[in-house]
Amino acid sequence: MNWTGLLVELTLMPLVAFVVGLGLVLMMRRIAARIQRRVGPPLLQPLYDVVKLYSKETQISHGLMHDIGIVMAVGGYIAAETMLPVPGMNGIADKAGLLTLAYVTMIPSLGLALGVGQCANPNGSIGIARALTAMLAYDIPLVLVIFGVAWHFGSNNLVDIAAAQQQAGIAGWGAVQMPLLALAGLFALHAMLGKQPFEIYVAPAEIATGPMVEMGGKYLGGLFVMQCFQLYTAGVLYVTMFLGGGENWASFLLKVFAVVAIPVSLAYVFPRYRTEDLLRLVWKWPVLLGLAGIWLAMR
């Protein structure tokens, strides 16, 4: 691989992820609006929000860690995007496996924890404690799912996994071969996105959006960008593991939007669990499904 090509890919992949992520955020807000019988935001609303937040004229910083925390939160996801293969671009995906990706996707939560810690807002501290607890909850089924998928395809390299599924056709897709793991994965994905039944750490009416409570201006803008990346990462990871990855951009984007639409549509008809209920639920059902799926895959 030549260096210029790699450099172009490393620049383009996060940019593509951001644009697709804006679309995913728009879809999320439109779905919420439709469920609540509203019209919903216009096409470019997510972009307006980000531009507006970055163009605020006074910025309230609470210190160095506050600034660095946001950089870590966005940077962790930018690193993750370069490890997710998309049609025509692999970036460093064939050098970094699923395990690296699982590690890198934890960086944003930790960065946010550091940044919020310096704000010294009690709501923020409660929020970040809940976010890390939620991470503890969904990471166990997620790791089980990643292990099962890696075992089934005999590789933890996302490029190989996508290629193997594309060769075998729809019958070879992870979701067809390992339906239980696919279900557990969807469950973990929903918890990872932190959408409504699992929305313990945002909880606007209870702890005033938790980690975001002291974030304004460019800090909140950074978190809006992070949300775009988060939706994209979750969707692409699932599509690559279970739905054959991307043969071309049209089918790839269709799959990503469809996958993200499932948790988002479920989210807006549910209220919220409490933290201990979330842990009990996520450590029970997706973990059981995942273990059964691994047993089937290893048989």
Binding site: R29, A33, Q36, R37, R38, V39, G40, P41, P42, Q45, L47, Y48, D49, V51, K52, S55, K56, E57, T58, Q59, I60, S61, H62, G63, L64, D67, A120, P204, A205, A208, T209, M212, V213, E214, M215, G216, G217, L220
Partner: protein, 247 residues
């Protein structure tokens, strides 16, 4: 508190909304950029509703399925840091007004204040009350009043659209007035709350840092503030519940 010195000041020369007749500075690129930011600001407004009175009841229908503010890019936010608009829906008692001012000072600029209902305009039916602040714009710069008792959601949305037009045209820059004439606002606040009144936000420091210092920022009232200012003690951080008598 916030460490103002650490925040880089972004030179936004032309971003200062041009008043009618005022020459716009900068080249073509910065003009396009300013137009873009003004447009995005007008199309994306996060509002913090400080629901003090009966006007609050007209906001849920304005936000939900019947009138749906989100199609104009207006959505509710829950903390002052995230918000652009402070909606004050109803009478402000003197005790409430202190909280409103604290909230207003914590918002990031550009920020806009909308007073809804007659009570924020002139006290409304509480005109004779000893415990109610009458005119909101004596204590903080108000961008828009939506009069009525109470205004219907249509009126609220019409008001919002007018604010959007003002932001788009660069006319909604009353938030600068709070920095430029801080002495006057502080004087009115002191008249109501007593001379020991202080807020945790260092408004003068912010004005100095962002170059918003006017000739009326400092005056006799800010001198009084300096004299009575006590540094806020840092909050004690501890884990666990420690109740008296139980140790």
């Amino acid at each position: 508190m916030s460490e103002l010195e650490n925040i880089p000041v972004v030179a936004q020369g032309g971003a200062a909304p041009a008043k009618a007749g005022e020459e716009k500075s900068g080249g073509l690129f910065s003009r396009v950029f300013d137009e873009l930011t003004a447009f995005c600001r007008s199309r994306s407004m996060f509002m913090l509703h400080y629901c003090t009175g009966c006007g609050a009841i007209e906001l849920p229908p304005a936000m939900t399925s019947r009138f749906d503010m989100e199609r104009l890019g207006i959505q509710p936010m829950v903390t002052p840091r995230q918000a652009d608009i402070l909606l004050i829906t109803g009478y402000v008692s003197i005790k409430t007004l202190k909280r409103v001012i604290l909230t207003y000072e914590q918002m990031g600029s550009p920020k806009y204040v909308i007073g809804i209902c007659s009570c924020t305009v002139n006290g409304g039916m509480y005109w004779q009350s000893y415990a109610t602040a009458k005119k909101l714009n004596e204590y903080m710069p108000v961008d828009l009043y939506i009069a009525g008792c109470m205004p219907r959601p249509e009126a609220v949305i019409t008001g919002m659209r007018e604010l959007m037009e003002n932001i788009r045209g660069g006319k909604a820059d009353n938030w600068r007035d709070y920095y430029r004439r801080y002495d006057w606002y502080l004087g009115n606040q002191q008249k109501l709350f007593g001379e020991r009144w202080q807020t945790p936000t260092d408004v003068i420091g912010e004005a100095r840092h962002y170059g918003l210092l006017g000739d009326q920022t400092l005056g006799e009232h800010t001198a009084l503030l300096e004299r009575h200012r006590v540094p806020l003690p840092p909050m004690e951080m501890r884990l666990g519940l420690k109740q008296e008598g139980q140790g």
